[in-house]
Symmetry: D2
Subunit: 103 residues, 4 copies
């Protein structure tokens, strides 16, 4: 299973606010049916990589359909294929368990 | 105010799990007193950039103090100085408001 | 045209050196026939985005075929669809021209 | 020694081209005296991390001094403290050597 973070930003949009673009991108993920989490810096999606990649491709296209001429997209893939804990919740849990064990 | 995401990963650690390193990094942020949020892909911190940077520097050092010989750190800074909504919660809220308005 | 940077890193390898993995990834780009440039921090590729994406997918897979169990891949897409200068050389040239003009 | 890549992008500029901002950032690195390389996707700097960090801080500030109200900066640190080859040229060489050995 892979956990993937994506952030999509239009350049040259005249004003610094980009939340309308981000909202339209999040709707693309929501419609995909994949588990995801909106964070202050991007959208994190879990699933099989080959299910996630077409969704990323669509998200990257969103600002162009809304008039942007240049889009900067950052994608970070964490793909783990051993038996270790993974996924949106699994990754958080394994860090939190370590912190509580030490306290 | 700036919102900064950081992820710190040791290379060459023999096993794929790195949650003990991440937990030690998160403790550094917690001790800083800055507002932060742990996500599945990193830690997001809000505050004045010059308050955040020394915390990032300490987080990057953590895996070395635990035996790592190589550390890969990714930092993404979103620094906004106009009157637009910002911060950990402000960024999420402004996206969610857009989504609800359209639905 | 898009310019895309990718870096692929295995986690949990026995030693901190990862150049054999990187070399195998670069060979995948070389075989694709796309223009690319190896930098100290990644591989930068130019072309149509839909030509580049399948190459990125193959590159991400390389460390798994060499025994890695976890792979962290970072992809940054700069996709520009106006008439501005772009491409591997165009981007460098437009910065260098600005610097020389000011000197 | 550390090798660090940085890219600095203003959001909400009137036009998609950002090369004047990038050129001003590159001048900051050039004045620092550190070894660096301009790539199509960023600037890569080598040196001791504590020498590099103040330069990154100055680069991030550049677009604000030129009127930008929001700046998105991406920093990737590769910090290696064993005896492996490193540095701008060392990293490239060790990949190229692997490729030539296999051919």
């Amino acid at each position: 299973m892979a956990v993937v973070e994506i952030s999509v930003a239009p350049l040259g949009t005249a004003t610094p606010g980009v939340s309308s673009y981000v909202a339209a991108c999040v709707e693309v993920v929501a419609e995909s049916g994949l588990n995801y989490q909106l964070t202050p810096m991007g959208t994190v999606i879990e699933g099989e990589l080959d299910e996630i990649l077409p969704v990323l491709r669509k998200m990257h296209e969103v600002p162009f359909t809304r008039g942007a001429q240049r889009v900067s997209t950052l994608i970070k893939i964490d793909d783990r294929r051993d038996s270790g804990s993974h996924g949106l919740q699994g990754k958080i849990d394994s860090v939190m368990n370590r912190i509580q064990t030490r306290s």
